[in-house]
């Protein structure tokens, strides 16, 4: 199993660097709107590559009423250690009335490893998502007959979807075979693959993954499939709910609307949810001595705008942005129960906290539902509730270079990795890191990965950021709060 620790950066690079937003939208249509639900361990190995880039665009020509129609099918080559593991294609098939977004994964010999339904949009016929139905395609290749109703079982009640996906698999296998013959597949650029910082041993536990907040979230459950489905649904719904609440892009999100109204006058419009998040962010700002700062929105924007022009932000722009940051602009009147934001340019960025926070809230929901033998893996940050039956904890293995590289067990707590590798950004030809220091307004130099333990995912998330920014100076601070850090072995 592979965890795309730097998936957000990878995708950003794909969008900016590769300059193919259209390609990215193929995946985005499934990740953002409907949630990629990757239930197959093998495909998850492929996932970091898929989100990295989309170097394969294969024109598929079909004859329709005497005309030929060409559609572009987008795909990824999956490369690990200079070896091609296989290819992934994302395509749409027609259901009764709405398109089904689905994915085909093949090995280097173009034999089917699996198919996934990424987005199913109808209330009938969703049975095509069944694992046992999809498993029928395993091992098929372009010469396999793949006849619906013969080689591939039909599911009563989902006939149209089954037929449509079956013919889609047939068409795309033929397309890949043809591309291989004409040499199109050998010339593609290898996709970016990142070794995971932390890897959890899946054992025989039930799991489900979806992309939420731009990151792959995996729910591992030591329970019956039904409970596992229930647990993962609770987690995805809760994390998605927070994604909506905290969206800065969406002007109708709770956060955006609250900020808008608090800039005008003192307001008590914050919901209990948002209030708790605001207070937690303010507390962590104090605890980390300013290293973890959710008011950094204006600075992030300044860098983003500069990046779009591929140059460094001007000193003036940075100064201006830095002045609009800081909790001094956010006034809480505890007696009146109101907040006021005094700086018109202020904006909040929960990028450093949202994932940890959402994990904790999801864990709360799981406890309420009595589903606690669960581990949540959010792009490499782990939050474990109870251990699996008969075990001391969930077995987590850090990548080489992270901590001491030795597997450890995790229960009732969270681990995160703070660090960086070679995937930085370039501005003015200079390589820069992707994390901003709120205290200086500039990106931090890359640091070696450090492992953080904390009781809550929020603390682990916040302190991994703080540690990255402050360096070893943060260790006594975090240890004083009962958290732990482990640096790589020299």
């Amino acid at each position: 199993m592979s965890i795309p620790r730097y998936l957000p950066v990878c995708l950003t690079l794909a969008l900016l660097g590769a300059g193919q937003p259209v390609v990215a939208s193929t995946l985005a249509s499934s990740t953002q709107a409907c949630g990629v639900d990757v239930s197959d361990a093998l495909l998850r190995t492929f996932y970091p590559a898929m989100t990295g880039r989309s170097p394969i665009v294969l024109p598929r020509t079909t004859a329709k009423r005497g005309r030929t129609v060409t559609t572009e099918v987008h795909g990824w080559q999956v490369v690990q250690a200079d070896q091609t593991l296989g290819f992934v294609l994302v395509d749409e098939a027609m259901g009764k009335s709405r398109p089904i977004t689905w994915l085909l994964a093949v090995d280097a010999d173009l034999k089917v490893l699996g198919i996934e339904i990424l987005a199913y949009r109808e209330s009938h016929g969703g049975e095509v998502k069944r694992r046992d139905w999809r498993a029928q395609f395993r091992g098929a290749h372009s010469a396999s007959p793949l006849q619906h109703g013969r080689d591939i079982d039909n599911i009563a009640g989902a006939t149209i979807s089954c037929r449509s996906i079956t013919s889609g698999v047939r068409a795309n296998l033929a397309l890949l075979a043809q591309a291989k013959q004409t040499g199109q597949l050998s010339s593609v650029i290898p996709a970016v693959t990142a070794p995971p910082d932390l890897d959890v041993d899946e054992g025989s536990y039930a799991f489900r993954s979806q992309v939420v907040m731009g990151t792959l979230l995996t729910v591992l459950v030591d329970d019956e499939p039904q409970q596992a489905l229930q647990a993962s649904t609770i987690v995805f719904e809760e994390v998605r709910r927070w994604e909506r609440i905290l969206s800065e892009r969406d002007p109708t999100s709770e956060l955006s609307q609250w900020l808008q109204s608090a800039k005008g006058a003192a307001t008590n419009s914050a919901t209990a949810d948002l209030l708790s998040m605001l207070r937690a962010a303010r507390r962590l700002h104090l605890e980390t001595e300013g290293a973890c700062d959710a008011t950094i929105g204006p600075l992030v924007r300044a860098w983003r705008e500069a990046d779009a022009r591929a140059e460094a932000p001007t000193v003036q722009a940075l100064d201006q942005a830095r002045q609009a940051c800081g909790w001094q602009w956010y006034e809480e009147d505890t007696a009146a129960g109101t907040w006021r934001v005094l700086q018109p340019a202020a904006s909040l960025d929960f990028g450093g906290l949202a994932k940890g926070w959402a994990l904790d809230r999801a864990a709360e929901k799981l406890r309420q539902a009595g589903l606690t033998r669960v581990l949540l893996d959010f792009g490499g940050q782990m939050l474990a509730l109870d251990p699996p039956r008969g075990q001391a904890g969930w077995t987590v293995t850090p990548a080489s270079g992270v901590a001491d590289g030795q597997p450890f067990t995790l229960a009732h707590g969270s681990v995160a990795v703070s660090g960086d590798d070679e995937r930085g950004l370039r501005i003015d030809g200079q390589r820069i890191s992707h994390i901003l220091d709120p205290r200086t307004g500039t990106p931090v130099e890359p640091r070696a990965p450090v492992l953080i333990w904390a009781r809550s995912a929020l603390d682990a998330d916040a302190w991994s950021t703080a540690l990255y920014i402050m360096g070893p100076a943060a260790i006594p601070l975090l240890e004083a709060r009962g958290h732990r850090a482990q640096q790589p072995r020299p």
Binding site: P8, K96, R130, D132, G214, V300, W303
Partner: protein
Amino acid sequence: MYFCPQAPADTEPQIDRTSLAWYERVSLGGYAEVHFNQEEGSGKEQLDIHRFVLYLGYDFADWIQLHSETEFEHGYLKETGGENGDGELKLEQLYLDFAYGEAWGVRAGRYLQPLGIVNQRHEPETFYGVERSLFDTTVIPTTWFADGVGAYGAIAEDLRWEAYLGSSLDGSEFSATKGIRDGRMQERSGLNQPAVSGRLSWQPSPTWAVGVSGFHGGLNNGDEGTLPDVDANLTIACLDVEGRVGRFEFKGAAASEWIDGAETLAAGVGDRIDGWQLQAAHRVFPDSWRTGVHAASDAAFFVRYDWVDTQAQLADASEADDAAKRDEWTFGVSYWPVPTVVIKADYQLRDDESAEGLPERFNMGLGWSF
């Protein structure tokens, strides 16, 4: 962590179906059945454009979808009432699905009762036989819709459910031999005594499915008001199974209906109605023929037995009707040139307990869906 530039949740294009053009949000479809029926003995024969159904759907948002089916029966309609031919124009389905959760949603409007298999899935290419079976017309009076609200969802990958609260039936239209069929309300259903209905479907594998469904509702409902003489309610329990082994297909269904207070309804209406059916089919189209234009063709033989008793229990024996106990053997063939077009033919041996019995019947049909 603070990503610079911003994390992709912000940079990824958002998919927003409400910004699509109207034609991208509309979906069209439908199905049709053209039948030829000939009765032995009497020699009565007819060519019948039995059904033409138009499906219209619309996406208000990714999670709010409209589904509708408008049915035109027998291809002719004149003024009102049955005197000028029995053609019908009606809305068979008209509902909005609100997909609130990943695994569940709310449905509101005119929905199909989730009883048995054929009531909800009746495009001509999906069932065997030209005409709907004795079981599917008498015990479960397809197409049976109701107006109300409900919810649907999946408890697990192989376990789905749906449940509704909505309009019931008009008990005053029940009869000794047609059972509950004529009690279906087609317009402005009275909601004096509503009904609950539901279904649980278990699919242990892609090829096998078991469904249990039920209904309970009062029968004191007129077109717009109440029926002073009617004091009765109806409970239905139905079990259905379908499956496939290689090229063999099997289907079975059984249902019982209990009418509490049948004595307040028409004479001869049974206290209990029973029915069941069993069907086996064999797909015979050879793989070697599946080339060229026949690449997706298929053909099958089938045999089905239906048994129905609309007076399985009767309070007053003097009201017993010989025509209440009926059975039906159907032998036939289906040929699909493409999967959504079907040509059917069958022969039906029908009988009841009356002296004259029921005439045998030959049927041919052409159906398609799109």
